[in-house]
Symmetry: D2
């Protein structure tokens, strides 16, 4: 037992979803989780901000070649240099994944997360994907993924 804290990846995009992302990040941190995102703007920034403001730890996995690409809410920055392929690392690095809004890149991340057997929950407003559970609220999404990790 290493004492390593559970990691949850928050994926998605869209300025309309920032407030929800903030709450998801905050709730994950309050439950003791490290929050991981793709490290750029919108959902990726606000989820980290929510976690940070709640005293949590945050990790940005960015697509480019510079630490400066990460938003200011990242405690740690993983610089992948592999462009959109970093979506695999974002999906895989979560012991569970929550989608907040999002578009095509988010769909790729959902595909990868499901392929790797990570529990995934899509918040209402995110992409509709057959076979992927949905949640109506950040609280419900967080409880669903935590329960799924514990039972897996």
């Amino acid at each position: 037992m290493t004492g390593r804290r559970m990691q949850v990846s928050v994926i998605g995009s869209g300025a309309a979803h920032e407030a929800v992302a903030l709450e998801v990040g905050r709730r994950l941190a309050e439950r003791g989780c490290v929050v991981v995102t793709g490290g750029l703007d919108e959902v990726m920034a606000w989820a980290l901000r929510g976690a940070r403001e709640a005293g949590g730890t945050t990790i940005a996995i960015v697509p480019g070649e510079s630490h400066a690409e990460a938003n200011e809410w990242a405690d740690h920055v993983v610089v992948t240099g592999i462009g959109h392929a970093r979506n695999l690392a974002v999906a895989a690095s979560g012991e569970a994944v929550i989608a907040v809004g999002g578009s095509w890149g988010t769909l790729a991340e959902i595909g990868f997360a499901m392929r790797l057997g990570r529990p995934v929950v899509v918040l209402e407003g995110g992409p509709a994907v057959e076979g992927v559970p949905r949640a109506a609220t950040p609280a419900e999404a967080v409880e669903l993924v935590l329960a799924a990790v514990v039972s897996s």
Copy 2:
């Protein structure tokens, strides 16, 4: 002008879809396209077989570290060593993309292809994704993607 032939990626999986994949590959080759797949079995093999049997050229982009991983219908094997992240290369290497059946990995490829602006057509039986055109037959799928490339 290099005379380079158009490349179309065929994505998907499922033994139930092999006959359709064979026809898609054949029709693409008959239209002068090079057929690209992820290079393994099922849809990835039968699309290459269809193209090869019609006199076309085939490319396998495999996830592992060995040429031997590719199916026997590959004329050329690109060994990526990057696991599921090679799905990005499969999607990106097509100037258009046709999905035949498929599961989570296919969803990731559709997400990437749409993100990169590649024309995508999903054959009936493949994943339902809002905003992605569908086709009822291999002939229709091939004509749709060729028309989309020409007009793009």
Copy 3:
């Protein structure tokens, strides 16, 4: 200013170099750096152990698809799923890079780190690469890379 701590990647391999890796990790943590490695055994484990035992924070960037692949000294695990291509992420995620021992994978990481303009120092016993500074001791290596980051 985010207050993000400087990240230094320690690369290399070889059981003979574990004690040196331990000291490099410890010294980096004592200087306030987060230590990043490829997350597996030998040098990758002992550098994280040294940092952890000195109260530092550690990040493992692993090649496979599971958090369980990381050694027990990792506080955070980035699961890339991209095999040896994760060497790019290891090199890029350091604001500086120190090589301790190592073989062909280490050479790839040195190449990437230099290509991206990261300061690199190779400890005696590591690969001889023309144009890459060397250090005789962990203390010297740590001071060299910290000075290089500050002046860059």
Copy 4:
């Protein structure tokens, strides 16, 4: 037996090495090999040109997200979208690898090729790496790698 032709990757960079790259590409094509490179300029372009002018087949594995990034001598373009990590795919896709000139990216490719057990030969003028065979002329380099593949 698929009849697939042997693939040899030519890596390196530097305008000073273009004439040598041209000859390496030509000789590989004359020996029936498909020539693979990173698909951009200098050595990557001239090796493909040499192969093409000798009637051979050429493959460009490019780092960006567009087919247009490849040089005009590429018969087939694999669009990886993974930046410098495509160096792994270039190294791995060759059943043998020849380095012509080159700098840090080439060093990464040599590291990966050796790590994966691909026969590698560096032409004089390329990076000096302990444990990697060297050749004085394109003819010698081509014969060395072909012999190494046959005996492996």
